[in-house]
Symmetry: C2
Subunit: 357 residues, 2 copies
């Protein structure tokens, strides 16, 4: 018999990945390893357990995680017989249900590493959370549904792009090696939810041509990589600018939010934005109604009138860290840049929309 | 022009009622009244406003509530022109959209009161929250989709019943008059969400044969009543009992929760419950799996073996207040009673299920 502690945490972390397949439970003396895998993405966790047995089997994710979570006692005893009947007991409670043979469970890919590097976990989480909004959801160009890990010359750029916008988060790399690979957004989002906000320990990243492993202590996340050439994003970033604005993120977002109230699938219109004389004037008119707004801002350079999509700009503002942002314009039909007030820790690009008249 | 304060709170409280119809705004010198009404249920709120005008019109609930909520300034100015264009402004922000003529808005029913009484608001909320789970959702017997207000001889019973279970919450009435009417569950639930948890002030209840008004300060909730004879619930309550159990609500609910994991639409089975010798043994077996559980309890009277539906019992336990409950049995095929450890402040009844074999 085995006493399993803390199993429910490990299970709930994986439930949405392993839902269709169940969870593979691998028992070795002193240790239990749980695996969830959906052929694209795998997560494994090892925990200590009082057992001298070994073997493996697959259990229903729902029953395994819910029974374990809803047991009364501290220690949970876990037994499986030759007919794959799984028995979970604790104090006066005893539950049993059928398991599945582990023979039917696919093996995780072997990652024969070509190289590895480390990133602090909370930093990786923040990088993912600030950029993943800009991934494409259009499966017709699969490479853009992931994010580019671009590591070169001691710099680590995480890049997402969908054709209308681009998000880059830039950090120093803790390696001098060169890496260039694209990870599916889904895997990065699962990884991000597994990382605690303040977790300072490193995430070890190991990769070959087809797969990647993220190691968070005793938790491993394994994902396939997306293949094909990624957009040469460096060419999209303007080298200069004609107008620069420093504005309260909250005020600008609130204004875009109000404009969004009169925009829906049937009633679309670009936001009409006039920048100059210390004021950003935003107006929008659709079949539903009209909004006129004005926000004070620090503005330098040429005055500019430009149109843009409310949602693309709002999502970029929401992904930005800090209270204020810098916005750079290069003319009415050129890409809009959103940056932090100082430095280029992140760069978000939004394509403008041509205004009529 | 009018300065409206606090309008968004009033609006959001009503949004799901008035969604289809919009909100009627009635302006009188110094006062604005907002009305949401869906022909079954109406809610009105009055607020103070700086205005000398009077008139009325109907606005889109979504635009009105969202624009008001998302305005930057403290004071919001509200204008309407002869073309029913509504203009909301605050600081540098200005939004406009079309209103609808109030001529198309149906009048709320007049309640020419036949009598009224008061209940403390938090008490009414608690009474509703503890009993409404037992209302029927089956529209084929509409009277059971509401709750009976049964007030007589200084006692106030609030009663819900659906054929498989019954919930009564009993309080002293602050009136010696006799009332007997049935209010739709939907109206009571809206009323409950409008009441703050600790609100000690009275709710005034005014009724005629067809409608009821609940007055919470400046907020009025008006509902039609359900017509027809209500089940004579007093006949359903047993006068004695053969077995009485005093048990931890949390432990019993946790056990029923575990059993529920192996019960679904396809795999139904009653919970098999053996009561005696200081232990409640609960077992359940379905195509999914098996659960055996035992809970210690104070048991007096005859031993009994009885079957019941997991959901009906769980919902009754969740609606019960306090850490422990009394459960009374009258034999294997007789109704099960759930009561507080002391007194009869509430009585929940659950029908048993016949066990095979």
């Amino acid at each position: 018999s085995e006493a399993i502690s803390n199993v429910s945490r490990a299970v709930s972390q994986k439930s949405n990945i392993a839902a269709l397949e169940g969870i593979k439970v691998s028992v070795a003396p002193g240790k239990v390893t749980l695996t969830g895998y959906n052929l694209d993405l795998g997560i494994t966790t090892s925990i200590e357990a009082e057992t001298n047995d070994s073997g493996e089997f697959v259990v229903s994710t729902r029953l395994f995680s819910e029974f374990t979570r809803k047991m009364g006692g501290e220690d949970i005893t876990f037994e499986i017989d030759d007919n794959l009947i799984i028995n979970i007991s604790s104090a006066a409670t005893e539950c049993s249900f059928s398991g599945i043979s582990a023979e039917e469970y696919p093996d995780l890919p072997e990652v024969d590493s070509k190289g590895s590097f480390c990133v602090k976990q909370h930093l990786l989480k923040s990088m993912i959370n600030m950029t993943s909004y800009a991934c494409s959801t259009n499966e017709s160009k699969p490479i853009l549904t992931g994010e580019l890990f671009d590591i070169e010359d001691g710099k680590f750029n995480l890049v997402a792009i969908d054709g209308f916008r681009l998000a880059i988060r830039c950090e120093f790399a803790e390696t001098n090696d060169k890496f260039h690979f694209v990870v599916p957004r889904k895997a990065l989002q699962e990884l991000s939810t597994l990382i605690k906000d303040e977790e300072d320990s490193p995430c070890e990243i190991c990769t070959n041509d087809r797969h990647i492993i993220f190691r968070l202590g005793s938790v491993y996340v394994i994902s396939r990589l997306l293949e094909g050439p990624f957009h040469n994003y460096r060419l999209s970033i303007p080298t200069g600018f004609k107008t620069e604005v420093n504005v309260s993120k909250k005020e600008l977002a609130a204004s875009l939010d109000r404009c969004s109230l009169i925009i829906d699938e049937k009633n679309k219109a670009p936001l009409h934005c006039e920048v100059g004389n210390g004021v950003i004037k935003i107006t929008c008119k659709t079949g539903i109604g009209k909004v006129n707004d004005a926000i004070t801002a620090d503005i330098s350079g040429e005055a500019v009138t430009i149109g843009f999509n409310n949602k693309l700009m709002l999502e970029a503002l929401r992904a930005a860290e800090g209270d204020r942002v810098r916005i750079r314009f290069n003319g009415a039909m050129k890409v809009i840049e959103i940056l932090p007030p100082e430095g280029e820790n992140f760069i978000f690009l939004v394509m403008p929309i041509q205004l009529r008249g």
